[in-house]
């Protein structure tokens, strides 16, 4: 176990953390504004990866990079309009079960259309080669992917923290009745946030596609992680979500050195710890979905 191995794993962890953060931010925003635990988020992620794998050889890398999130966003729009609008304001378990049903059906749809095998996305021509970082050699493609995810995170951060839209979204998380009383159209706002979350999931799918391979179960794998990260970071806090994403990413990457078998269990143990000791997450001001325990009320 020398220093360059650790460094490579660390860089992998940071890249993973960025991908996790992009997925989790979307999840967290939808959870905040709609009070819906969106189990279909992983499905949108898987759809992003599959559509990108399917269309990028014909229309080229960058056009596919732009079109795929739009398609996934459209899909998110449909899911929201057709199903999720019906569960707003009801028991959170309701939304969870409905979206679980959607994700089961959607994963099967992916298997129907594109088959069960794991597919690989080849490196585009401009990204072939290595980069020298500190004292290690690192694939250039991964660096590009990390930069892309970082840019997306910064853009979303700007959108939520600095823009007018973001202010309304944050207000909607604290008191959705109040913002409708102030004349903002809450259904439209929820719809936009959901579409934004879907687009983020789609982009994350594109970024993750060359790293993990494209398969229909990839959504389930990341869904629980997104959930854990959104909870750890605190609802609606971009900063907290990114930090939590990086922590989970680096732990899952470096953990392979120390506990190779049980590394997948670590996020769940963290989830238990967070739910017990910090139910509001690292930087959150709200607990998700109302009360935490029977007695704290």
């Amino acid at each position: 176990m020398n220093i360059s191995t650790i460094l490579i794993l660390l860089f992998n962890g940071v890249l993973l953390g960025f991908i996790y953060s992009v997925v989790s931010i979307g999840f967290s925003l939808v959870l905040g504004i709609g009070q819906v635990i969106n189990f279909a988020h992983g499905l949108l992620f898987a759809f992003g990866a599959h559509i990108f794998w399917y269309i990028s050889p014909t229309i080229g890398y960058w056009p596919a990079f732009v079109i795929t999130p739009l398609i996934v966003g459209g899909l998110g729009f449909l899911i929201e309009k057709l199903v999720i609008t019906r569960v707003y304001g009801q028991d959170p378990l309701f939304g969870l079960l409905v979206t679980l049903g959607i994700s089961l059906a959607g994963a099967e749809l992916i298997r129907m259309i594109w088959g069960k095998l794991t597919k690989t996305v080849s490196t585009p021509v401009f990204a072939v080669g290595q980069v020298h970082l500190v004292n290690i050699i690192y694939p250039r493609y991964r660096v590009i992917l990390a930069v892309i995810s970082l840019l997306i995170i910064l853009f979303v951060w700007w959108l939520i923290i600095r823009s007018n839209f973001g202010t309304i979204v944050k207000a909607g998380m604290t008191d959705s009745e109040m913002i409708s009383a102030l004349g903002h159209n809450l259904p439209v706002l929820r719809n936009r946030v959901f579409v934004m979350g879907s687009i983020l999931a789609g982009v994350a799918g594109i970024v993750a596609a060359p790293l993990w391979g494209v398969k229909s179960e990839m959504g389930n794998d990341i869904l629980m992680l997104a959930f854990i990260i959104a909870l750890m970071g605190g609802l609606g806090s971009i900063k907290g979500t990114v930090i939590a994403g990086l922590v989970i990413g680096i732990i899952s990457s470096l953990g392979v050195l120390f506990i190779p078998r049980m590394v997948e269990a670590v996020p769940f143990i963290l989830l238990i710890v967070v739910l017990f000791y910090k139910p509001k997450g690292l930087y959150g001001e709200l607990t998700i979905l109302g009360e935490v325990t029977a007695r704290e009320k």
């Binding site: 079960l97 769940f268 739910l275 935490v292």
Partner: protein, 328 residues
């Protein structure tokens, strides 16, 4: 009301008669192991409904108890039973171990409610799943444990599948009657009132956390027993059953039948679930697509489940609609 009248109005009597003659029904009777699985699921879903339908605790990790029950049965069977192939000790061990495990988990999360409860059960079950999946020396990892040939239960020969069917029938009915007794007992009434208004129950002097812990133990123990019966049915154990997606199946089966409003809902739901799974999967590879959509439609348009449609519920006063528990 005399005893005879009560007995004749008891759905369990008719269910028992139906399942007793099931092996002799012309076409269905050929699928004995399917029937056994339905019976196992029937007890499993009823025990799960103690949590979801009666106490209002949405457990998404029930598959873990089921899976741990299977593994304990399998391991005890391989280590200690030897040539007698008596499955009494393995099943007893699964009840004890899962009972202790579910008491422990229930104790840890006894104060959590709603979605936090659901998440914690998912987290615990995933940790157990990963242990089962990765601890290859003991659990066989991805390959699971196979070659578990059941022999006898305290001298009763269970080798043939029809004998095992009747054995499971007996256990499933005894278990179901016990669960019904629990729901009708004062303890069960407290559970139902916990679902409606926990704060008021606390003001009445009940320690609600203790009740949640106990119901978790009872429910988990039955699930463990079901897991044990299941692994002896198919002579094998795999970690798949412990994944949270699989734990979702029992939630779906319970809601499908109407477990939120009717005691017998889980029985209807799990029978339909198992049959639909077997029939659809033999006809069409991508049956999960239909299943997913059907599930969405059921949740959206008939949240009270199939038995909920018929309206007249035996104990409807004690239940509320699924989505109407905001004041909890």
């Amino acid at each position: 009301m005399n005893t005879q009248y009560k007995l004749l109005n008891d759905p369990f009597l008719y269910l028992f008669i139906f399942f007793s003659i099931f092996p002799f029904i012309p076409i269905l009777g050929k699928h004995i192991s399917l029937g056994t699985e339905v019976l196992i699921w029937f007890l499993y879903a009823l025990s799960f409904n103690l949590l979801l339908g009666y106490t209002g605790l949405p457990s998404f990790g029930h598959g873990a108890f089921y899976g741990v029950g299977s593994y304990v049965t399998a391991l005890i069977y391989l280590r200690f039973v030897g040539n007698s192939r008596n499955i009494f000790l393995p099943l007893l061990a699964s009840i004890l171990v899962v009972g202790i495990l579910s008491y422990f988990i229930g104790f840890v999360i006894r104060n959590k409610r709603g979605i936090y409860f659901a998440l914690l059960t998912v987290a615990f079950s995933q940790v157990l799943y990963i242990i089962a999946f990765k601890w290859t020396e003991v659990t066989g990892g991805e390959l699971g444990i196979t070659r578990l040939f059941r022999g006898q239960f305290l001298g009763i020969n269970l080798e043939s599948s029809i004998r095992y069917y009747y054995f499971v029938l007996l256990i499933a009915f005894l278990g179901s009657i016990a669960i019904r007794k629990i729901t009708l007992s004062p303890f069960g009434k407290v559970l139902q009132s916990l679902k409606q208004n926990e704060t008021r129950v606390q003001y009445l002097g009940y320690d609600s956390a203790k009740y949640c812990c106990y119901v978790m133990t009872i429910s988990g123990t039955f699930a463990g027993l079901c897991g044990g019966l299941y692994c002896m049915l198919y002579s094998s154990v795999f970690a798949d059953n412990m994944h949270w997606i699989k734990s979702g199946d029992v939630v779906i089966a319970t809601l499908l039948g109407g477990g939120m409003t009717n005691f017998y809902g889980p029985i209807v739901g799990s029978s339909i679930f198992i049959l639909a799974r077997e029939i659809l999967s033999s006809v069409w590879d991508n049956w999960v697509l239909l299943y997913g959509f059907a599930f969405v439609l059921i949740i959206l348009f008939m949240p009270t489940g199939l038995l909920g449609i018929f309206g007249k519920m035996k104990e409807k006063k004690h239940f509320e609609q699924f989505n109407n528990n905001k004041n909890r």
